[in-house]
């Protein structure tokens, strides 16, 4: 038996050494975990216990040119839920559904949102009414993961009156979240959905803040605040626009509930959009926090298409308002002067080949100059002027005048106007022998293969109102206006053109729509309506004061009939802007 004290002592030493080794090993392991890897575990324990509740940031306030509010934020409530698993979320929402109205679809949507970001509170109601919030507060103890917080809610004091350009906001969709443009956005956030709200999303969007709530292993909210200092949301700098809210309201009131169409008012020098309205329109305030299904159905099934912007999206044949393009081209290229007459006087129509082309006035205008032809909008004169210019030059001239390009207005989804890129367009469309020079007759009077937006016609008239430079329409205030020369005429020619345009309202097609003490220059038009040939669209594009224009207005009334109707609206808009009281006058004879 080797139990001699010496043997035992030796084994005791071995055991003690083994013990010491184990001690050092354990302490080393703790040192590594607690001291060396401390920060990593601190982070993990914080992620464990802290849930980040986003504090939505108010969007930037949008002002008009005089500092009046177009879009602001008002207090609202949002309801969201923190849940440890998708199943417990579903169970909780089912129970929640017994207290507040919550459809099965909403629950499934919430579960999908949860799966995308399980550590973020899942939004249940983006804009909860005060009633629902008070009911929920009563039952708060039953729903430990419930988060009710005030969330700034978008509000447009003028509602529908500004909808055409300001757009609206809504919750980001799944498709948007997946797209590149919305990188960095999270489910449940509000984004601009149309108009300025969408176009200037990056400037309007505030920086979201964060509130830290403490949860336990089962996802129950243990401490609501103070677990860590909140990161406050940041509101961005306000957005100043060129809109004149007074003028905008007037435009909207002129359209009323009955008229449909679009109108835009521009500053010809800078391109500032003073007013922009598409009628009928929608109430953007009803879109906030989710569009009610019945309202959405009403908007989408309305044959007048309230969601379609008739200033920048809809395209109409420009009609006689386009005769100024024909005239400008002829003047610039020396094809005709304002005093030139055409070989065939107007007798109410014009025989070309085997076809007879009517003038709008069956009585005829006789032998007239170009200036007079503009005033009375004589089709026969412009048929012959078109023939004189020739189809190739007229198409080329239209392209050079910018009738194929978008205006570049700072709104999303602007349509490009339709205009032939060259004569080849006709060859492609009808075949090389499928058409003849008669198309030039239609093109010269603004019919045929030509469809313009209201905005693009207004832009062309900014060139007429100045010295041949078009201004790009801009809603949001910009340092330098963007201008581009589209034609070059002498001062005499410009004066002559403006005199003729002024004559439209004094002794021409819109006679009687002039405003006492104010020289308005402009051109009426009526565009063929493919749906109903008896009801033409009424156009008027003009500017004032004629000698030193301060405003360009384009008005288009769908099924408005006579261009004079549009001219009456335009006069009222101009008079209001230039602070002149319009005079009521009798209805004049107008073009058909």
């Amino acid at each position: 038996m080797s139990f001699h004290p010496n043997d035992v002592a030796r084994r005791g030493q071995v055991a003690t050494m083994g013990l010491a080794a184990a001690f050092v090993l354990l302490l080393g392991a703790f040192f590594r975990t607690q001291v060396l890897e401390n920060s990593q575990y601190v982070l993990q324990s914080e992620t464990n216990r802290l849930r980040e509740v986003p504090l939505p940031a108010p969007r930037a306030i949008i002002y008009d040119r005089n500092g009046r509010v177009i879009a602001e934020n008002v207090p609202g409530y949002s309801v969201s839920v923190l849940a440890p698993t998708a199943d417990s979320l579903r169970a909780m929402l089912r129970r929640l559904g017994e207290t507040i109205p919550l459809s099965a679809d909403q629950i499934e949507l919430a579960v999908r949102r949860y799966r995308r970001a399980p550590n973020r509170p899942t939004a249940i109601l983006a804009d909860a009414s005060f009633d629902i919030v008070s009911v929920l507060e009563e039952h708060r103890v039953e729903f430990p993961g419930l988060i009710i917080q005030s969330a700034p809610k978008r509000h447009y004091p003028d509602g529908a009156a500004v909808a055409s350009f300001v757009g609206y906001t809504g919750e980001i969709t799944e498709a948007e979240l997946a797209s590149r443009a919305y990188r960095g956005y999270k489910a449940g956030q509000q984004v601009g959905k149309g108009g300025l709200e969408k176009e200037y999303e990056s400037r309007l969007r505030g920086r979201e803040g964060t509130r830290f709530v403490e949860v336990d292993a089962r996802g129950r909210v243990v401490r609501d605040a103070g677990a860590r200092a909140d990161i406050l949301p940041e509101s961005p700098a306000p957005l100043y626009t060129n809109i004149d809210l007074d003028l905008q309201r007037l435009v909207v009131s002129l359209f009323g509930d009955t008229l449909q169409g679009g109108a835009i008012a521009l500053d010809p020098e800078t391109g500032d959009v003073l007013a922009l309205h598409s009628a009928p329109t929608f109430d953007p305030n009803r879109f906030i926090g989710g569009i009610p299904a019945d309202y959405w159905r009403a908007l989408t099934t309305d044959p007048r298409r309230p969601l379609y912007n008739k200033v920048i999206q809809a395209r109409y044949p420009p009609g006689s308002t386009w005769k100024l393009a024909t005239a400008t081209y002829a003047l610039e290229n020396g094809i005709a002067t304002l005093d030139d007459m055409m070989p065939v006087p107007c007798t109410g129509g014009f025989q070309f080949g085997n076809r007879y082309f009517h003038c709008w006035d069956p009585h005829g205008h006789g032998n007239i100059t170009l200036a007079r032809a503009i005033e009375v909008s004589c089709d026969v004169y412009f048929y012959q002027l078109g023939l004189k210019i020739g189809i190739e030059r007229l198409v080329g001239g239209g392209v050079a005048l910018g009738f194929r390009e978008r205006t570049g207005i700072d709104l999303p989804n602007e349509s490009a106007p339709l205009f032939p890129y060259s004569v080849n367009y006709y060859n492609k469309r009808f075949g090389p022998r499928g058409w003849n020079t008669s198309v030039v007759l239609n093109l010269a009077i603004g019919q045929g293969e030509n469809a313009q937006t209201v905005a693009s016609m207004a832009r062309f008239y900014t060139a007429l109102a100045t010295d041949g430079e078009e201004a790009r329409p801009t809603i949001v205030r910009r340092q330098e206006p963007v201008r581009a020369r589209v034609f070059q005429l002498s001062d005499t020619q410009m004066d002559g053109l403006r005199r003729a345009l002024t004559g439209v309202l004094t002794r021409g097609t819109a006679a009687g729509e002039q405003v006492h003490g104010l020289a308005i220059a402009g051109k009426t038009g009526s565009a063929q309506n493919p749906d109903d040939p008896t009801k033409t669209h009424a156009w008027f594009v003009g500017f004032a004061p004629a000698d030193h224009p301060k405003i360009v207005v384009a008005v288009m009334l769908e099924f408005g009939g006579h261009g004079g109707h549009a001219a009456r609206l335009a006069s009222a808009i101009i008079a209001h802007y230039l602070k002149v009281t319009p005079q009521a006058t009798v209805m004049p004879p107008t073009e058909g």
């Binding site: 005791g12 975990t33 607690q34 890897e37 401390n38 324990s45």
Partner: protein
């Protein structure tokens, strides 16, 4: 022979310090944001400590010879109680399918395996002390192996894997202390190594090659050599079968998670990861007594029993861990000292066996909180909540004090 003063003050002071430390941690473990039943457990733990200290004092009044005499009857009684668990046993927690709790009339009396550790140490010491020669050959070890093997089988059948590891640890420690050559111990352990390495073929192959070399050097009896090799082959082959058929899903899961805790972070690996996060986030000084967030917010599992050391790590930091582990180390050194100074072989073996039992507990439990050891559900001596375990720990203290008192020199007057 009766001495007047039988007290080893440093040992008792260490045990008391550890117990008070432990009860404070059990109290802290109950301090959660959403209060649970754990919040009141520290009170019963105080009661158990008082009971245990009294029991330990009574133990010191008995002679070592009495322990030697009582080894046989208490060992037999232990076997009977362990066998009765098949009828009266019940499980607890996520080991609910195991039957390690003695339950009578629906009341859980305690875990007999904790007290079995003491009786097995006594019995083993008696068997080993009775042999004249130090066992050198494997065949000579059949009696001690049988003494430990029978309770291991019973406990394993009841589903308490952790205690089995402790018994194996006690067996090897006491064989070492009695002077069994290292090579013999390695050969004895070889089937276990085969079992562990069985799932990785190349590792087992390497081990088997090493074993052949060792057997050749050891030059055993032919029968002995063949049986060692055969045992290894069997373990290497039957291990996968045990894995598939015998281990309970939770046991299998625990062992798997030990190998890779992130493999299943939500389920079993969750415990280890949360424990590591708790300890790691403690830093140098910890989050403060009762202030551990992982514990408060219930991320830490079994925070008053198996994972109580994670609370130490989270709330008292590296400093607190060092203090606790140092106290344990001094306790072990003290126990080894008692073993080296004991009057006779039996006493020395008992002292070392009890120290080894504690050591395996501490090493396994503390190692588990940092994923150095698999989760087997072994409590931490003096810390973990539990009456029978506290009692067992203090009975061991009582026996050690008695052995110390009867040993050479006055241990209480010597510095350690």
């Amino acid at each position: 022979m009766q001495r007047k003063v039988i007290a080893d003050f440093p040992l008792v002071a260490l045990a008391l310090l550890l117990s008070v430390f432990g009860i404070l941690m059990v109290y802290s473990a109950g301090q959660t944001d959403v209060p649970t039943v754990v919040a009141r457990l520290y009170r019963s733990q105080i009661v158990w400590l008082a009971v245990s200290v009294v029991a330990a004092y009574l133990t010191t009044r008995a002679s070592v010879r009495f322990f030697e005499w009582a080894a046989w009857p208490s060992y037999l009684a232990t076997l009977v109680v362990l066998a009765s668990l098949f009828v009266l046993g019940s499980g607890a927690g996520d080991a609910a399918s195991s039957k390690s709790w003695l339950t009578i009339g629906g009341h859980r009396i305690g875990q007999p395996s904790e007290l079995a550790k003491i009786t097995v140490v006594l019995m083993l010491a008696r068997v080993l002390a009775s042999t004249r020669e130090t066992p050198k050959l494997l065949v000579d070890l059949w009696r001690p192996v049988l003494v430990v093997g029978v309770p291991i089988m019973l406990i394993l059948a009841a589903g308490d894997l952790g205690s089995c590891i402790v018994f194996v640890g006690i067996l090897f420690a006491m064989l070492f202390w009695v002077g069994v050559p290292t090579l013999t111990l390695v050969l004895l352990a070889s089937p276990i190594v085969s079992l562990v390495t069985a799932s990785i073929t190349w590792l087992w192959g390497a081990w088997f090659f090493l074993l052949i070399v060792l057997v050749w050097r050891y030059r055993p009896y032919l029968v002995e050599g063949i049986s060692v090799v055969l045992a290894n082959v069997c373990m290497g082959i039957i291990a996968p079968i045990i894995w598939e058929r015998k281990l309970k899903p939770y046991q299998r899961q625990r062992l798997l998670v030990f190998l890779d805790p992130s493999s299943d972070p939500r389920a079993s690996g969750y415990h280890v990861i949360q424990s590591q996060v708790a300890i790691g986030s403690g830093g140098w000084l910890g989050k403060g007594f009762t202030m551990g967030t992982q514990k408060r917010l219930a991320f830490l599992p079994a925070q008053h029993t198996d994972f109580i050391f994670s609370v130490v790590g989270e709330e008292l930091g590296f400093i607190g861990v060092t203090v606790a582990l140092t106290l344990f180390m001094i306790l072990f050194v003290r126990a080894i000292r008692i073993a080296t100074r004991a009057n006779d072989t039996f006493s020395s073996l008992v002292a070392f066996g009890l120290a080894a039992s504690w050591f395996v507990h501490v090493g396994e439990n503390v190692g588990m909180t940092l994923n150095l050891m698999p989760i087997t559900g072994i409590p931490l001596p003096f810390f973990s909540y539990g009456g029978s375990f506290m009692l067992a720990c203090w009975l061991a203290v009582g026996i050690l004090v008695r052995i110390s008192g009867e040993g050479r020199g006055r241990a209480d007057t010597l510095a350690i």
